[in-house]
Subunit: 183 residues, 2 copies
DNA sequence: GTCTATACGGCGATAGAC
DNA sequence: GTCTATCGCCGTATAGAC
């Protein structure tokens, strides 16, 4: 039932605008306009603004779940991790100017919206567990701690690149992560 | 001239509330109430809400500058870095539940407020340069890159601890940073 | 310098015709 | 299902008395 063209356009617009301007700064009018849907009609598909965010988060989660499942097809853990690092590399410019769509929402929702925080943070949690699994296969002494450090380095580097306005920082950090893991 | 009791109270209230709830979610009425200053009177001290944020950022910058200057008195770079890591350790609970006051403002301002972003990001930049100087003294091959990685790990760990609701993540990350640097 | 009252705009959400 | 008009609230900012 969620497969309506308008609904999809609304969610897509919400994801793009929220990534660029943040959740609070994005208005329903902005989303409706970008999706070419009249403002009042938005409420036929979503009861509240938070519901749109939830749909956007669901989209992100499905996307990452699919991506990690695809990467699981690769034969070696090193290849899988390299594939994982390709994600921020492909979106380098976007991540460096708008931040990680997951990480920045965690920041925003971490301040107030408890229910939405748990949903968006679950994606980060998925990533940590997936990386930990690869590290376990690579015989790390403490795969969980190493995975947390890995994701922290990635998220922190995105923040630094965005804050200092230098996407090179992110590119170099990805390179460094790849080297440290695959050495 | 900036040393008015009311003004100081307003800035202090702004810092605390913005750290807890973020800049956009914090209203001038909240700040005025917490500082026990009538709403209308706020505008005698600050022309706009952004001006209050600027004052808060100035406060943070002075605080960190003083702290780093104090740490410079310590004889060995290792001790200085250990002292630097004591900052998030002392504020562990607060950082784990509300994030880093600097990092989370960078996220928030990175989305829209360009002028304020540059000011708050300067603090991160200061930290990176200061850490890089210590690494240079410790004969690191690439002090700048190592410093960026160091701050990224710290910021990313704070984000993970806050998002996943486990302050242990931050405590462990600090321990790990200390061990990696001082070994 | 201080404080009350209020203007003004924008946003989330609703009513109700079609 | 779709869309226009609009309500009600809240947040920033101002006017102006004291």
């Amino acid at each position: 039932m969620p497969a309506s063209a308008k609904r999809s356009r609304l969610v897509a617009a919400a994801k793009a605008l929220i990534h660029r301007h943040g959740y609070y700064a994005t208005t329903l009018a902005d989303i409706a306009h970008a999706a070419k849907v009249p403002l009042g009609n938005v409420y036929y598909y979503f009861k509240t603004k938070a519901d749109i965010a939830e749909a956007a988060i669901g989209d992100y989660r499905r996307w990452f779940t699919d991506m990690l499942t695809q990467l699981d097809e690769l034969p070696h853990p090193e290849q899988r991790i390299a594939g994982f690092l390709d994600i921020p590399l492909v979106h380098l410019t976007q991540y460096a100017s708008n931040g990680c769509p997951i990480g920045s929402l965690c920041q925003e929702f971490g301040k107030s919206e408890g229910a939405l925080l748990r949903r968006i943070a679950a994606i980060l949690s998925d990533q940590v567990m997936w990386i930990a699994e690869q590290f376990r296969l690579l015989n790390h002494a403490d795969p969980q701690a190493d995975a947390l450090d890995f994701i922290a380095r990635l998220q922190g580097s995105i923040l630094l690149a965005q804050s200092l306005g230098k996407k090179n920082i992110l590119a170099a950090a990805i390179q460094r992560l790849r080297r440290d893991v695959l050495k």
